[in-house]
Amino acid sequence: MSSGIKIAIVGGGLAGLAAAMKIAEAGHDVDLISVVPVKRSHSVCAQGGINGAVNTKGEGDSPAKHLDDTVYGGDFLANQPPVKRMCDMAPEIIYLFDRMGVPFSRTQEGLLDFRRFGGTLHHRTAFAGASTGQQLLYALDEQVRKWESAGKVNKYEGWEMLSLVLDDAQVCRGLIAMNLQTLELKAFAADAVIMATGGPGLIFGKSTNSMTCTGSATSICYQQGAKYANGEFIQVHPTSIPGEDKLRLMSESARGEGGRVWVPKADGDARRPQDIPESERWYFLEEKYPAYGNLVPRDIATREIFQVCLEGHGVGGENQVYLDLTHIDPETLTRKLGAILEIYEMFVGDDPRFVPMRIFPGVHYSMGGLWVDFEQRTNIPGLFAAGECDYSIHGANRLGANSLVSCVYGGFTAAPSAIEYAKNVERGASEVNGIHDAELKRQQELNDAVIKSEGGENQYQIHEELGKWMTDNVTVVRYNDRLKATDEKILELQDRMKRISINDSNLWATQAVPHARQLSNMLELARVITLGALNRNESRGAHYKPDFPDRDDENFMKTTIAEYSAESPVFSYEAVDVSLVEPRKRDYSSGKSKSH
């Protein structure tokens, strides 16, 4: 029996699948649109674990402490009520995945095991080896497959969203998507649309993100009137493995399990790391942050590593430091971190159980995203957002192992919220008055224009230049003159984008046309990120300006809101709800400063 309610979900990662499961379970129909088969979504890349204050280690952990760690780690930029709800729900979420059969690591009693992660002093992170994201995604994929078999979920895998369908009152009535094989366009009428499209890492060229993480779909929503919040807050993960095609993540769990970061005390020390004695190594994180050591939050670890290399102390004078696990028993390492150590060995050739890894920071996560209220509603009626593509939980810096829990929380909150909306929305008129056909036609014309364009510019060249400028100027350390220059560069790239020539005469399953559409959207979002950073004259979490080194709560304890206009994003600022945990200075050099 159908309830007559249909909800379209864009994105089949953890957040999208979490929402799909809840909506199908409530008896409603789901159209699930994803650029890749959902089981291959970027959530598979999450390694270390999922946070929840289950408190099985007798440490007195609690959701209240999880809340405090999260908002403190986020440098007091997150609205606190939804963070509290997430932390309260987190133990339930972990238990649910346990019931779904996720092979979490266990204790000797057969209970869930927990490890430590950055920005907390508690064992709060449940994990399945070192591929927790993969395991959680698979569990939801399996549950949603069950609903697919039951006819409640229709998957459209290999389809990419091109636009929302909005009626005259700016109410979202569905979306237009493109079949990536045939380039056929289709209108998906829906009572509500949930965006669960992940992060925009590809704007920075190389990042730890999957190649599907363009941010294109969120940028489309922004260009159609959705507010985009805190875009300038981009997390650069302290430990990634530099590569030609991408920066591969080396999970924080490597440090959670005891990994130590160091460089040789003597610059340019040419000895093999295993030949450098303990006394001639500089464990700079442990020295500067005795309480948290190697497990300071990511923004801090990243800046310290970046600075050490900038000052010429990197291994071999290059942009790399050692992440060392070799003091730990190899069998324990294989059991607890096998999957990530294999990745390192596979791509670098050294076995991290015996040779210290060489790592450097890499763009990893966007704290910013579509603005949502506490029920995951965007400012466009009928449009919801969940997961990395929404801005709501992490403030100015995300703590490790909070992303998986925030994805599921977001999906579990967006689903009932969208159902409630769909039950009450006035329907009928939008299907008959032709708005879906009109939008489909508009998108077809945009596609045709891209295909016909013949100006000689190379889209991949433009993407490379965007990535380089963004990485050089809008990541770890930010200066206003360079941010201004970057925005000018983006404008130049946008201009050149109008003159690209698609280099594929065979349109069947072509990657060139989708990439061109994505890139146009990425450029719009790049401006939001860059100008948001330019306007924020303070340092907070992942956003660091040497010319404004301090946090400025009076002027900037505010959410940045960007709204689209044809000339330039229009910025405004919104007060942050800090009603639960009083803001205090963030200081990880001794134990965390007291809250309650």
């Binding site: 089981k39 649910l96 019931r99 779904m100 190649m211 399953a509």
Partner: protein
Amino acid sequence: MSTNGHTEKKRLTDPPATVKFRIQRREKEGASAYWETFEIKYRRNLNVISALMEIRKEPVTVDGKRTTPPVWDMSCLEQVCGICTMVIDGRVRQSCSALVDDLLLASGGDTISLQPMSKFPNVRDLKVDRSQMFEHLKQVHAWIELDGSHALGPGPHVSNELAQERYALSRCMTCGCCLEACPQYGDGNYIGPQAIAQARLFNMHPVGQITKEERLDGLMGDDGITACGNAQNCVKACPMSVPLTKAIYETNRDITVDALFGWLKK
């Protein structure tokens, strides 16, 4: 600092100035296949994906002919999503983790050949359609039956040993290497090792066991477990070291037990 049991990897010491990629092309499903060769400058740390990205940017063959860019699938580039699987120098594997240095070291030459997997519909060039693998997962009910996703407390106590055994099966990324390597798989006559191993994954779980027979039912037809020819290629081809043959053996045992004693329950 022990280095017991640790051997250093053999490295390519005299790389060529350029590397050639011989790529099997196809315009679309049903069209005839042809080969084109591209050449790029050698660099350290190249993998097949970064070479393909470079070729895609300026698709000109080694003979100087401008052509269409080769199409392939890629996503995570960390060998965990499974999407970029193809046949490289005759061996099925992920193209993200196929390092050019290792390939050249193994072949002793300067040319690397790329082909699409042969057991699945070839969409274009190196891209294939593996949706049948997900259909197989439906056939074996590869999920746990829940009363609902509302809060019902923790799952059952599970020994870490069992959790680790299941984790090994659960790392399957549906890439299709096992099916490409299996001599029995193709034309819909055999469900193949991946689905059997996923059935095993859930049958091993204390709650999954309750609906074990539904999963075994999906494996008892002509395309089921009896179609396995015991070639054992699957386990050698699996990039995630999923114990596929063990899963097949154990599932076969379950089916036999079920067939022998199942009637007693009816």
